[in-house]
Homo-oligomer: 222 residues x 2
């Protein structure tokens, strides 16, 4: 069986899980705690970071960006990227935004400080980082609203990895209850659409021992 | 004329410049200082980050990862990615390593603290960050040596964007004279090969007013 090593609160791991589900590719999810730096996992990905996909023939695909592009190349149906080259660039621009810029400005400051530090025993949350994350998130939700007002999905007429990347990042933040949905109705409407897809079910069922999500996390009518 | 907005000390911008040169695509380079947050530039890339490529027909390709993949898709000859799908994943794994992991662990701590802070008027270098960057760089040079011992180029038999990404990142670090070449002969041998390519000439000619590179920076026999 195909194996995906992942961590539930890692946005790029969530991208891989959602893409696999959208494409109907069966896989066995195995939780990897990157801070344990397991020797067997480092042999699969020397950077020590999930996700890693191991195909049935032994092919190892290591790292979030590599897995994202690999899944689209190896399993093109149904497509999660357009065929038009400039349009593909737009999808990657938005995916990159949520997987790197949002990560640096929001996710690391909130999910990182509040939950990953605790799970990995790296000490207490750093209050100034949390304040920065809480301030920064509005700008990103406004940007989702800006895009969603102009296009059916974030990068154009169809669901793409741009939506999946943004939803993966936001869903991690929602797990720690730091998405101010009440003041961002348009972003909420867009998220409700992707949240209700069958490919999102496993994400909504995530429940880390000792750190449960808030009640609205899995609620489709949040 | 095709325009590339770039900053000389931004690794992903260097990737774009080297790829354009390897593929023989003419372009006009325009230096963008991202900390100025120019309104006209933000209209091209709302994230505010170079590189941005503007094609002659007005197509805008924004952001380093989008430009990297776009150039390979739009101008496939000569190829800088293999055709085999698992092998492409290996190229992206290594490129991702040098564009994100290396950036976080080394470039931000050294180029960021010593030069970008000064150019952008963001204060003085933070000594603990510099110490961390100086400590971390050895591990990455060892990893280049590990790969280069086993393969002609970092990701396999041919030059790919994996080599270009690693060389782009290292060349920024070399600009601030923080690559300990003397204790990393194998990484130096690999870098000498890519440094001597015609596509690297413009990189080696970079010279920021008031912050010149060390003498060996442009020397092919360093």
């Amino acid at each position: 069986m195909r194996i995906l090593y992942h961590h539930p609160l890692h946005p790029l791991c969530r991208v891989a899980r959602i893409m696999l589900a959208e494409k109907g590719i069966p896989f066995e999810p195995v939780i990897e705690k990157p801070w344990e730096r397991r020797v067997e996992f480092l042999a699969l990905n020397p950077s020590g970071e999930p996700p890693v996909l191991v195909e049935e023939d032994g092919t190892v695909v290591a790292g979030g960006l590599a897995v994202m592009e690999y899944l689209e190349e190896a399993y093109p149906d149904p497509p999660l990227m357009p065929r038009d080259i400039p349009h593909r660039a737009e999808v990657r621009r938005i995916a990159d935004w949520f997987l790197h810029k949002f990560d640096r400005e929001v996710t690391e400051n909130l999910v990182g400080e509040k939950l990953i530090k605790r799970l990995s025993g790296q000490g207490h949350p750093y209050a100034p980082a949390i304040r920065a994350g809480l301030a920064n998130v509005h700008y990103h939700l406004d940007y989702i609203a800006y895009l969603a007002e102009r296009r059916p999905w974030l990068a154009g007429p169809a669901l793409t990895v741009a939506d999946i990347a943004a939803a993966a990042a936001l869903s991690c933040l929602d797990y720690v209850d730091n998405v101010p949905w009440d003041s961002h109705q348009e972003a909420r409407d867009w998220y409700a659409r992707i949240k209700s897809r069958p490919s999102f079910r496993a994400i909504l069922a995530d429940n880390i021992a000792g750190c449960p999500p808030p009640r609205h996390y899995a609620d489709l009518d949040f």
